[in-house]
Amino acid sequence: MHEMSICESIISVIEQQADAQSFHKVNRVRLEIGPLAGVELEALKFSFDVVCKGGLADGAKLEVIELPIDAWCMQCAEKTVVAQRYDACPTCGSYQVQITGGDELRIKDMEVD
């Protein structure tokens, strides 16, 4: 449900940017979202269409770039990628893994007129 308020935040960033970068229509928005951001993508896409109605992003296409959960394994002393927060290192099986990314929730760029 908080996907709706996330979409409202997206719109408010778009409106700010519309002033700053002089555009009046948004055709496409690209987001970068990590699995730990706590966002349900289908709900986000649904909410986006609803929230955009009547505004300068009305009808805009929403594209999501899904980012991995980056981590650092202390045993391997190397970067790795895990599937969820309490996973072991896929290489050595150690639980001494520090999550370094995956909670991103960013607007990357937009195609505008």
Binding site: H2, S12, D113
Partner: protein
Amino acid sequence: MCTVCGCSEGEVKIEGHHDHSHHHHEHDEHDHHYGNGPAHAHAPGLSQARMVQIETDILAKNNEYANANRAAFAKQGVLALNLVSSPGSGKTTLLTRSIEDMKAQISIAVIEGDQQTANDAERIRETGAPAIQVNTGKGCHLDGHMVGHAFEHLDVNDGVLFIENVGNLVCPAGFDLGEAHKVVILSVTEGEDKPLKYPDMFHASDLMLLTKTDLLPYLDFDIEKCMDYARRVNPKIKILQVSAKTGDGLQEWYDWVKASQMMNKIGS
């Protein structure tokens, strides 16, 4: 007051928040509207499609509010604790008991978040502590903006502000309110694997309170397993077992609050 507001349609209500309007920001009595403003920008010039790099954090706006709250709390020497849990974990019962026990030593105020009703704020006020109810309407969490406005109505100089979030183990994890700590409350009548089912919340919290421990003899709840799960998700989490009914473990919780209050002041 609102320097970074982007308010519009919404169903959020903050008790006692009075009429004022400034630029695109409207509050009618007891009502507070949230969302995006009516001003749709029309910029002259460019008509060709082009790409604009944004690279902006979507929650940046909430974070601005949270930082403003953090500054306001620091200015008044207030320790803010964000209490999160599923509905029915006993947050309000724990709070009323805690206030009764600590009010002689600490000044305490409460912001209560619920979808509807002011019942919880009324329960808190019966203890003599000031409380403001925020009704989020359709919303599933409190955000920095709501808390900032509610805090305007509270006076807790050098005290503790408890923010009782909407009962929900998912969404409140992602929204910083400017608090010093999130405290996650899990009652032993729930499943012991909740930390694994809702890892984001347990990861974001600094303290876990296992409540209703007086019921343990009647339940199959495996407390060791639950603590193990919580530490898997968050190795740094502190865990206390309490019963607001019998008072077991409450002294440690009060000590934690007082120690956090002291740590909060040192170096601020």
